[in-house]
Symmetry: C2
Subunit: 243 residues, 2 copies
DNA sequence: GCTCTCAGCTTGTTGGTACAGGTTGAGTTG
DNA sequence: CAACTCAACCTGTACCAACAAGCTGAGAGC
């Protein structure tokens, strides 16, 4: 058992063939029965190898059809900081943002410290769902301290063009923000919401928006790892933007 | 087969018990044989369920020992923008940066566009390995256009305190940078380099540093997803830093 | 010509068996 | 008492068999 196990060898062989292109993207792998003969291994062993590739996001399997080479990086959406905007990001390709639910929640230990309010403080939560192309791109929840949004459209269960503009109109101008980024595997719930195939991680972002005085909003977003690229810019980038 | 399959049910049950804490963090799960009896399923089915949890990063399995609840978020390392520094990040907790290899490479299609040089241009590549606590934290490769670093310590196979200062001393002052962030599952190579257990994704960052005139460096870094948290700040954050 | 059925392919799930090799602690041996 | 052996556990790997259920195309029936 010291040597590399059979199914890992098989996985390595197939991985190399995928990455070197002998198996074209989107192309179909041989059936499990065929691979039994080619590798002289039992179906079980073949399936262990295929399971590895699936968990690495290299293939997708469809019952009754076969195993297919996953299109690597199906589409990439930039979430680039907008230059000239009110300090926020524009996410031009991430259209289809829709309000899914509006909630009143008391701030838990995840939320309260970031908003600098005591735990249990009431907040207005707006749950949003965003599509990237024809796929689910992200799910996010925006938390507003109750006292900031009373009497504004943000209390209504309707889509709002720009929440930051609404806040600005009510005397809370965003002057900066902090993003905290983490990556991890999705929960089963997130996997089904974002329609993630096995082997696709998520990018989790906590954005805290600040006015001159205090945090005015916390946005918690979970992005599908296979359809997002995040981009940040700092400093004087005249050279970068010259073209 | 319409109903949820047996092993998924079992995985769901165990997942709930882990998340609700009936199985303490770091604690040991019952052996597979015990679970056979508890769930009235074959060892094969039990192992399928455990495999799911392992791929979700919830448990780790040790041959001869047993299955253990994974410590969630073992340690977090902030890669926070330094205020007052030369525009870079300081990564105070990410000590142990060591030079692993120095190479001369011609820029490929991944590198050349970011450095704004023709493909095939010679670059000096410094491969670095960074530890986070007692674990591997990241592996990175810094690409320097050849003409910028000729005659500097960056051409030597030795550790350099601050590469940006070296560049500045030779007339190339960093005035800004662009970060591109992606998440994905590690390649088997990365998994062994970073000592990643199954179910741990990586965070891939391309940082391009600019002087007033041109890109002066590209740093490609792969972070272990379970030991890193990235943090960005934009704008006026006097309120944020007041405490 | 059109539709419908079904055989025959595919992957998914579950059961079983056997053995390899890591780990541990009880018990033996020096 | 210390070291060593070994039985008894653990997980990892590999094999076989069987059936469920999705999918497709050939061919029967209209």
């Amino acid at each position: 058992m010291r040597a590399e196990s059979r199914y890992r060898q098989i996985a390595r062989t197939l991985r190399r063939e995928i990455q070197e292109g002998s198996l074209p993207q989107g192309g179909q792998l041989p059936s499990e029965k065929q691979m039994e003969e080619r590798f002289e291994a039992s179906r079980n062993t073949i399936r262990l190898a295929l399971g590895m590739l699936r968990n690495q996001g290299l293939i997708v399997s469809r019952p009754g059809r076969g195993h297919y080479v996953q299109d690597v990086v199906p589409e990439i959406f930039y979430a680039t900081r907008s230059r000239g905007g009110p300090g926020g990001f524009n996410e031009p390709n991430l259209a289809g943002l829709t309000l899914e639910e509006l909630q009143l929640l008391s701030a838990n230990s995840d939320i309260a410290p970031r908003l600098r309010v005591p735990e249990g403080t009431m907040t207005v939560v707006r749950h949003l769902h965003r599509f990237a192309g024809d796929r689910s791109g992200s799910v996010s929840s925006a938390f507003y301290p109750m006292d900031l949004v009373e009497g504004t459209p943000l209390m209504l269960p309707e889509d709002v063009e720009s929440a930051l503009e609404v806040l600005m109109d009510h005397g809370h101008r965003q002057v900066g923000y902090v993003d905290e980024l983490e990556t991890r595997m999705p929960t089963p719930q997130e996997a089904s919401q974002l329609e993630l195939t096995p082997g696709v991680p998520v990018l989790e972002v906590h954005r805290t928006d600040y006015s001159e005085d205090r945090p005015i909003r916390l946005v918690h977003t979970v992005y599908a790892g296979n359809s997002i690229r995040y981009q940040y810019e700092h400093g004087d980038l005249t050279a970068y933007h010259r073209d």
